[in-house]
């Protein structure tokens, strides 16, 4: 069984982002970039499924600029088999990403796709569900546990009031939530080995997908900042302030 995992290169989640002064976007010069944390979890899960014997090949796909090859190499160093970069300098939106992934899934005849539940830059949380819709497959979003069998999956999902379990026929799409696993660190020998793993580079045009966005970003601005309040020295003081100053209790 082939598994495809899509990974996105994003500003590292520990970086405090800064909005550009002209409100045209986010400052990215000299900013540390990493694999989207949810995608790392997706990669880890795919590798574990391979280690457990159900999966024969783990293919990593990234869509973006040339530097995304580094992100793919990171996944290959974790244990994935090969990579595909759909190279473009254009900022693509989730529907276009889903359409590109659909083409690759068709070409590769994959049976399972694992994605992160959202990227921590745009916070859309749409790609997995859109891809499932385009393929006509079942979707198990926000997965915290996966059990794979020959032709179906049992997935536990994190929902608003607890946990839900679904049985879903293959082929299917999973989006990974935080508690699905703890991703491994790549060892140095594996990082070296990953450099020799195959990585194909293709373009959206080769896949014949129209990637024109229907959403236009008019501006990106910083949110209103909160001013730092005061320190209180005792609980009595705190309760007094909440009652008489803030009037919230």
């Amino acid at each position: 069984m082939k598994v495809i995992v899509a990974v996105k290169r994003v500003i590292d989640h520990n970086v405090k982002v800064r909005v550009k002064a002209d409100n045209s976007g986010i400052e990215t010069v000299n900013v540390k970039m990493s694999m989207n944390p949810f995608d790392e979890i997706a990669v880890e899960e795919a590798i574990r499924l391979k280690e457990s014997g159900f999966v024969t090949e783990v293919i990593i796909v990234s869509i973006g600029n040339k530097q995304c090859q580094e992100t793919i190499r990171t996944a290959l160093a974790m244990g994935a088999d090969r990579g595909i970069l759909v190279a473009t300098d254009q900022e693509l939106q989730p529907l276009a990403i889903a359409k590109l992934l659909q083409c690759i899934v068709d070409k590769e005849s994959a049976d399972l796709i694992i994605l992160g539940k959202q990227s921590v830059d745009m916070d859309n949380g749409q790609t997995g569900q859109m891809l499932a819709a385009l393929l006509g497959w079942g979707q198990a979003t926000f997965a915290s546990k996966i059990e794979l069998s020959e032709d179906y999956l049992n997935v536990t999902r994190e929902v608003d009031s607890g946990l839900q379990s679904l049985k879903i026929s293959l082929p299917a799409i999973i989006t990974a939530d935080l508690r699905l696993n703890d991703p491994r660190y790549a060892s140095l020998p594996n990082i070296m080995k990953a450099k020799r793993k195959p990585l194909a580079v293709i373009t959206p045009a080769e896949l014949d997908v129209d990637v024109t966005p229907s959403l236009k970003i008019l501006q990106i601005c910083a949110p209103a900042s909160r001013t730092m309040g005061i320190k209180v020295s005792t609980v009595t003081d705190l309760v007094d302030k909440l009652k008489n100053e803030a009037k919230v209790i």
Binding site: V17, V19, L95, D121, Q126, A133, L178, L215, K216, A246
Partner: protein, 309 residues
């Protein structure tokens, strides 16, 4: 403009998050509220009495009992051509089926809308709320999920809107519900609570959350947690507040033993008044707290219970 809002309900009542989504929808046009479920007549009647709702569509079938995203999306897509906008709350449910709806309609989806600028322009947070994007859509049908905490809950109307019953559409048989473990709580829902008290890694173990329960009892508060507390197994996942968990914006938010990672702040920084109790004076949570108490939470929380008596 005709606006379709998909309601969340418990078969009887309409959830608070949907009331907020209706308020957002009122800025766009005339609202049709879709109540889909199994044995949900009471919810349909309740929906007809929400201010701003012009019409209720009621689709009742056992196939909708567990709100499987694939099956719900098929239904919504079958209705879509009549509407300029389709809205649902940005909850685990809305986030699950709305992108599927959008892809089937070949349009974009706009997640977590916090402000409606015009019928085609919306504001949404990105980068865990550290930036706000204003986006304009050129799609014929706009598919939005709405962040409930950014809009007031719609009130009641005296005259019920008409209810139209519609037949169900196809069941998606490749996804089957097995079971669910839902946490039942007497406390208010996190997303709608006026007061929220949350614990973090500093709580040290799950049993210590009983201290927060005592405060919550006094204040009628909901109880939340940081990711660190959930990952450590102190409390259940559905209590997590943050970028990838629940978003809250209560009148009063009390953060106990939470350092304040940006991912946590993303879920609570719109709260009106923020209190932080932490023994680390340098904790980032103090930078956004209106009232900060530097001290041992194991002394401060019992003292707080006593003060509130």
């Amino acid at each position: 403009m005709n606006i379709l809002v998909i309601a969340e309900h418990d078969k009887i009542a309409i959830k608070e998050v949907t009331l907020s989504t209706i308020t957002a929808a009122r800025e766009l046009g005339a609202i049709t509220l879709l109540i889909v479920g199994s044995d949900c007549n009471a919810a349909a009647s309740a929906g007809a009495l929400i201010k701003g709702v012009k019409k209720v569509l009621h689709v009742d079938d056992v196939i909708y009992k567990h709100q499987i995203a694939e099956t719900i999306a098929t239904l919504v897509v079958s209705l879509a051509s009549e509407y300029s906008h389709i809205l649902a709350s940005a909850t685990a449910s809305g986030r699950n089926f709305m992108p599927r709806v959008a892809a089937l309609l070949d349009v974009a989806q706009i997640s977590d809308v916090i402000k409606i600028e015009s019928t085609d322009t919306f504001v949404r947070p990105i980068y865990a709320g550290n930036a706000l994007a204003t986006v304009q859509s050129s799609d014929a049908i706009k598919v939005l999920t709405v962040r409930a905490t950014s809009f007031q809950a719609a009130g009641k109307s005296l005259l019920p809107a008409p209810i139209e019953c519609l037949p169900s559409t196809d069941n998606f048989s490749k996804t089957i519900f097995i079971d669910e473990v839902l946490r039942v709580s007497e406390r208010p829902e996190l997303a709608a609570a006026k007061v929220v008290i949350s614990g973090g890694r500093g709580m040290a173990k799950g049993e210590n959350f009983t201290m927060l329960e005592e405060v919550a009892d006094k204040l009628g508060a909901a109880i939340g947690a940081s990711r660190a507390a959930v990952d450590a197994g102190f409390v259940a996942n559905d209590m997590q507040i943050g970028q990838t968990g629940k978003i809250v914006a209560p009148e009063l938010y009390i953060a106990v033993g939470i350092s304040g990672a940006i991912q946590h702040l993303a879920g609570m920084k719109e709260s009106k008044v923020i209190v932080a109790i932490n023994n680390d004076e340098e904790a980032p949570i103090f930078q956004i707290a209106d009232y900060g108490l530097v001290g041992d939470l194991f002394d401060a929380v019992p003292a707080l219970v006593k003060e509130l008596t």
